[in-house]
């Protein structure tokens, strides 16, 4: 039954795409995030639907879409360079077979991020794309939210429909993404036109945000707690009544803490006592190993280079017996531990050149969004959506970059969709600016940029 419903849904999306090719892009985004082929028992498993949607999206754009004034942004060039570099490191990888496995999905994420901005020519397309990204992520987040509310979840124990821990279905990744999309949900609740703001949108949005906040509790990923803390600070930049927000946040914290499962609070306390925690200690050891490794291999070891690491680290345990405290240090050994950080993942796999390109790509995105935020701060009417969208995209990106410090998600496709939206948004505004500048003076009622 589920299989038939999912196939029917996909057929409808593809059907719409023949008249409106942008819906092929949405179909690809849907397949990329939700992976319906993994939710099915038969039929869809055997068809390469991701590839079909990819070809339709590009073919639809080439054959039917308006390509006047198509621009290539500097960050698209950077993405092309990163793609070529990743191809080079894959060719020379320390583990050629394993590296090819990761390359098989990384290239698709990068190519799509390069292509996506070309299709984002209207305001409605940004909204449509963001709405689809949120609803696709919501299909996983609502499951996690309800299961957490019902059972409390557990590290590695929360069942998110798919067992194989890939894509957004992995605990730490979904925790980071769930928190990172909250600013975008808030933007859609205020500025959406597909689902214009009314009580239903507010109710769904509020419930979804609540589910997003529950995800880090359910998955017990410490990264999620750090991201949630940063989000509560970032919100101070946009809320108008800051004191009221701070009081409400404090009250919500006071109410929420006693309700949290004890397994969650005890796991979160390991952030403080990281020396006694195996996961945190191996992380530090892997990062140290990566640094030593790139000193000898500055061009990186290609994808999956972490497989060669052999680690020796110390665990410090404090035992309390009555008033006497004793510390015990034990030496532990491990091998083949993953990077557990996007920054070290880039450094170890793609070397210094790859890390430099990756940092430039992401931090220049933050900067561009800040420039747009400031430029359109006082815009009203048709342009009132611009600054809030730039802020939402910037905050989502910041949350990813902070969460990514503790999870290896340097090439997570969902994030590259966000990067694609940012680039498209930037070029869209430049195009409008230029159109406004070309209009004869008599047609310009105010110096502010007008809706074309």
């Amino acid at each position: 039954m589920r299989d038939l419903a999912l196939i029917g849904f996909l057929c409808a999306l593809f059907g719409f795409g023949f008249k409106r090719p942008f819906l092929f892009v949405l179909a690809y985004v849907y397949i990329d995030i939700v992976s319906p082929q993994r939710l099915c028992y038969y039929l869809l498993n055997s068809v390469p639907i991701s590839l079909i949607a990819f070809l339709f999206a590009i073919g639809g754009w080439m054959a039917m879409d308006d390509k006047r004034d198509t621009r290539v942004a500097p960050r698209q060039v950077l993405l092309i360079m990163l793609l070529l570099w990743a191809g080079y490191t894959t060719y020379h990888a320390d583990f050629p077979v394993e590296a090819l496995g990761k390359w098989s999905w990384v290239w698709k994420a990068l190519v799509f991020a390069i292509f996506l901005p070309l299709t984002l020519r209207t305001k409605l397309r940004f909204e449509a794309l963001l709405l689809f990204m949120i609803l696709c992520a919501a299909s996983i987040i609502i499951v996690g939210g309800i299961k957490t509310a019902a059972s409390g979840g557990g590290y590695g124990a929360l069942n998110l429909m798919v067992d194989n821990n890939s894509g957004l279905y992995e605990g730490s990744i979904i925790s980071t993404v769930a928190i990172a999309i909250i600013p975008i949900i808030l933007w859609l609740m205020q500025h959406g036109t597909i689902f214009p703001p009314d009580w239903r949108v507010r109710l769904f949005g509020a419930a979804l945000i609540f589910a997003c906040v529950l995800i880090p509790v359910g998955t017990q990923a410490r990264t999620g707690l750090i991201c949630a803390g940063l989000l509560s600070l970032l919100m101070l930049r946009i809320v108008k009544k800051k004191v009221r927000y701070a009081v409400l946040l404090g009250l919500a914290g006071l109410v929420a803490v006693p309700l949290l499962p004890s397994s969650y609070t005890s796991r979160m306390q390991t952030i403080k006592g990281y020396q006694a925690d195996e996961s945190a200690s191996t992380r530090l050891a892997v990062w140290k190993w990566t640094w030593e490794y790139v000193k000898e291999h500055p061009l990186g070891g290609g994808f999956e280079a972490y497989r060669q690491n052999k680690l020796r680290y110390h665990l410090v345990k404090t035992n309390a017996a009555g008033n006497v405290q004793s510390t015990e240090t034990t030496a532990e050994y491990d091998a083949g531990r993953a990077f557990h950080s996007s920054y070290f993942e880039m450094l170890g796999e793609q070397g210094f050149p790859g890390l430099a390109m990756w940092l430039l790509l992401h931090f220049s995105g933050l900067l561009r969004m800040e420039i747009i935020r400031r430029r359109y701060r006082k815009a009203e009417g048709n342009d009132a959506w611009i600054t809030p969208l730039a802020t939402a995209l910037q905050h989502a990106h910041m949350l990813y970059l902070v969460g990514g410090a503790f999870v290896g998600i340097a090439f997570q496709p969902f994030v590259y969709l966000l990067v694609g939206v940012q680039i498209g948004f930037d070029t869209y505004l430049k195009r409008r600016q230029r159109e406004a500048a070309w209009r004869p003076l008599t047609e310009r009622p105010t110096p502010q940029i007008q809706h074309a």
Binding site: L13, R121, L124, A452
Partner: protein, 48 residues
């Protein structure tokens, strides 16, 4: 049960969104008239 609920809700919303997008001319051209869509409230003509 929970899985089905979540999938049904989000897919229904995506289907409605796709249908509304399909009917909106401003998907392909900024500022194109949106009067074709029945989801957009039309302004009432002034009374005579």
């Amino acid at each position: 049960m929970i899985d089905t609920f979540s999938l049904a809700l989000t897919h229904a919303l995506m289907l409605i969104a796709a249908w509304r997008l399909f009917r909106r001319p401003d998907l392909d051209e900024d500022g194109a008239a949106r009067t074709e869509s029945r989801f957009v409230r039309r302004e009432r003509p002034p009374r005579a």
